[in-house]
Amino acid sequence: MTLDRILASMFPDGHDVKNDGGVLLGSGTLRSGDRALVIGVADRTALGVDEAIRLSSAVLGSIKNGSGPILVVVDSDSQRMSKRDELLGLNEFLAHLAKSLIHADIEGRPTIGLLYGHSAAGAFLATALATRVLVGLPGADPAVMDLPSMSKVTKLPIEVLEQKAKSTPVFAPGLQNLVQLGAVHVTWDDKISLADQLEKLLRNMSDARDRRDALGKERGGRMKAADIAERVRELTMQTR
């Protein structure tokens, strides 16, 4: 789905989202009449220090002056891989964006990620994966690591990796793998109104607790994470 179609279907009552060099900023009117802040990355743009600081600024400004949910719409590259970005402390800029989103969510501004294209690595962590609920749209193709790069590092041919990917969702790219692992909570149908699906999601919003590991276990994609985290949590609590 194209960005224009997504925004039109999600906000039939109008929106003012602008795409400025791949940085999405604006807001849209919800079915309820409330406004939602919309931020994001489009056109498979890499997320560097210059983009991240504008997105975090919008989130913090909205915490101060706005209300309603925050939507994070993503079709990005990975983080911008450059000397300049690392020199300036890209890790701090990306962490700051993620922290701003998580803080907003904890403080009553529910965050929803909408993955409609690509995303990877640090850009994925700072945007879509820093939201409470992540929605996958048809055509989304997230890749934590692409198979050619994996092939280079693991020294295994791509055909071998593709073969192995059939038995586990744990390493290969693709939306379905991330659904199975619990990273993507729900996928939407582009044949029906996105506004309806968003309204339904907002109505049934879970509390702010991170349940992605439990979801990954239910769906058979991550069998150990939830149990290990819970065992360590219990042991730690006993030190009281």
Partner: protein, 312 residues
Amino acid sequence: MSVADLEKPSVERARATSFYEASARARIRLLLDPGSFVEFIGPEQREVSPHLKLFDLPEQFDDGIIVGHGQLAGSPVFIAAQEGRFMGGAFGEVHGAKLTGLLRAAKEMKSIPVLILLDTGGVRLQEANAGELAIAEIMRAVIEARTAGVKVIGLIGGRSGCYGGGGLIAGCCSALAVSEQGRIAVSGPEVIETNRGVEEFDSRDRALVWRTMGGKHRRLIGGAELFADDTVQAFREAALELLETTSGFGIDTLNAEQSRLEDRLQRFGACRDAVEIWAAEGVPDAASVPALPADQFIELADKLRRIARDAR
């Protein structure tokens, strides 16, 4: 034996032990009060990665991370240490879940701080999706713990540095101490070179790597609160100082960080190299920074820049 007798040889050993060279277990043993460490889900439980065998790779019984509790100068702390010599300290499903569980408990208990000894290349490729998600869960758990009033201190000085998602976790901590060897970045030198070419970043130019990502640069631009010499004792003292001086977390912290980072972009955004940034920051002989011994560098850094304690 009195407590003083027990402690003395430990301090001497901690002073003589390189943090960089030490294993994760040795770091914990020498960093905490002697004999105080208790591990959760230790290697005897053999909770190995369920994914490495698919790639015929050796497993480790603790999956490359140690989590537990102990005492630091008589006060309780939770601690996690990554073993940079196993799979580059990379985050996998089990490895990450151990840290997530520790942070979730710290959040509920509210008063006991967490020390994280980061030593990582980022996501473990053989379980890339699970590792990426583990990092996202850890970031969320760090922020939830900090929101509940918990101090989360990152200590960075290991062989694998602190790369990829590890760099983002570091940026979520309340405060960081870093040694010269403790590089902090998102994209590693090889990753930049592979994707953008050797003209953008020559990964074999070690001096370039240190001055772009190393601990001295991070301290000078405000990416870390403290610079530590490469001994376990120096990191112990840094942890104690950070626990003392670190403030809480909330919207004011985030607004202060937004200003801090905007200011950095404005002042240094056009600089092409770290030496230019250091000169702009007021370092008298910027080119000499990489060669400065730790004590002289700390003196210089303290004189130049008072680190904001409320902007991370």
